[in-house]
Symmetry: none
Subunit: 252 residues, 2 copies
């Protein structure tokens, strides 16, 4: 389908800052279908976390004219590697969880992602395995949970359909050329910097006795949720690290 | 993917006036994938014009939870039969034709289709065979040609991806019309409870030495900004108070 008003994907297009991450994909055909959906919508970077079978003839066949995306795909062993360097991590979630994480619809989430990519940030959009979706511990690594509005009578989308929908929203935002009203000038820390903060926080709370290592419960999960809502900027994260350092000082 | 604000497909929903028409489909898997995309987005009526192979195990497998749509699908011999009773016929087109037809983007076309369906009209949305798309003589039967904005470097979408995109636009229009903006069930603490927290936080940071009382600067302002973004709920504020209490314990 051709967009008469379409723009091409320039060298420095914000779309080039967007990475699709497929976690533990079961059917290789879905990897190919996602690659095609990506290229159709101007998104080129694919990272696969432990796919069951890849490369595979069915992936190549379903990719059609997007075989280059498969050829350039990186296969990695962990979600952490896949998210490296990304300051906005969006996770798609197949089910409503009891646990309320900041949730956004496909359209507003992709507008925000495009806007942050335009400001130079690196973005990851994660898709889980076909049957189960992303496990809770992986969902917690995301800044944002994205839902695709769907029929409550059957709301589980095929992973390639979900990727198609999100990439389509990115391309529409891109081709409209108009950024959403909201311009967020903030600079956000990388995924790994945020994880270091959580590690430090847990260490300090063990030290103060707020966390009992034998009955840690879900305190860290609750704190992650709170800080995900706050989404600390680079300077704020540095300040929080300073607070932690002031609590547990090197022994004199 | 679940829409927390989703509406169900009521008996007399405008979506029930929308018919998907697949013409001369080559791969039965694509018929199944279209059925799934339809049901995910609340569209139930499928008509197949001379599919190469149907029914077929691959169609059933790719339909997943939408097998009912395949079972109720009508197979007909001509496009005319498939379009019977429809007052708006939208055709998707894989290529730009020399032939200038009224063309609309996916979003505006589906908004128009939904609006006409709401007024009681019967709508058909046609998809052509995988390799060639709809032939010109079939395109001429349409009131409207729909394009899906796409990357000019590779703008040929898989038929199920195209159906997913159009049905998604229909569902978004449907669910936006029906639903309240935002339902936030969280319980937030009172203004004074939050102020007590800030008082406690400042006291603790004086104690740890993070704040130098002589040069306090704007640390508390920065922390207020961060926690305002997080907007702690009642339980979260209680947890934060617990964290503070664990840092400065009563002298033993």
């Amino acid at each position: 389908m051709t967009d008469p008003k379409s723009s091409s994907v320039a060298e420095n297009s914000p779309l080039q800052h967007i990475r699709i991450v497929m976690v533990n994909t079961f059917h290789p055909g879905n990897i190919g279908a996602v690659a095609r959906a990506m290229k159709n919508m101007g998104v080129y970077e694919l990272v696969l976390v432990e796919p069951l079978e890849f490369p595979h003839a069915e992936a190549t066949s379903r990719a059609a004219g997007a075989v280059d995306i498969l050829e350039n795909a990186r296969v990695v062993a962990t979600v952490e590697e896949a998210l490296e360097g990304c300051s906005l991590v969006a996770a798609t979630s197949a089910r409503r969880r009891g646990f309320a994480w900041p949730m956004q619809s496909a359209r507003s989430a992709m507008q925000q992602a495009y806007s942050e990519a335009s400001a130079g940030a690196k973005i990851a959009i994660m898709f889980g395995p076909e049957r189960s979706g992303l496990p809770s511990e992986t969902l917690r690594l995301a800044n944002m949970h994205v839902y695709i509005p769907a029929n409550p009578e059957y709301d589980v989308l095929n992973v390639a359909s979900a990727a198609q929908t999100l990439c389509y929203e990115l391309w529409v935002t891109h081709s409209e050329g108009a950024l959403p009203e909201h311009e967020d000038k903030a600079e956000y820390p990388s995924h790994d910097a945020v994880e270091h903060f959580y590690g430090h926080l847990e260490e300090v709370l063990n030290h103060t006795g707020f966390i009992n290592p034998k009955h840690a419960g879900d305190i860290m999960v609750k704190l992650r949720r709170l800080f995900t809502k706050a989404r600390p900027e680079v300077g704020e994260l540095k300040m929080l690290r300073g607070v932690l350092a002031s609590i547990v000082k090197p022994k004199k």
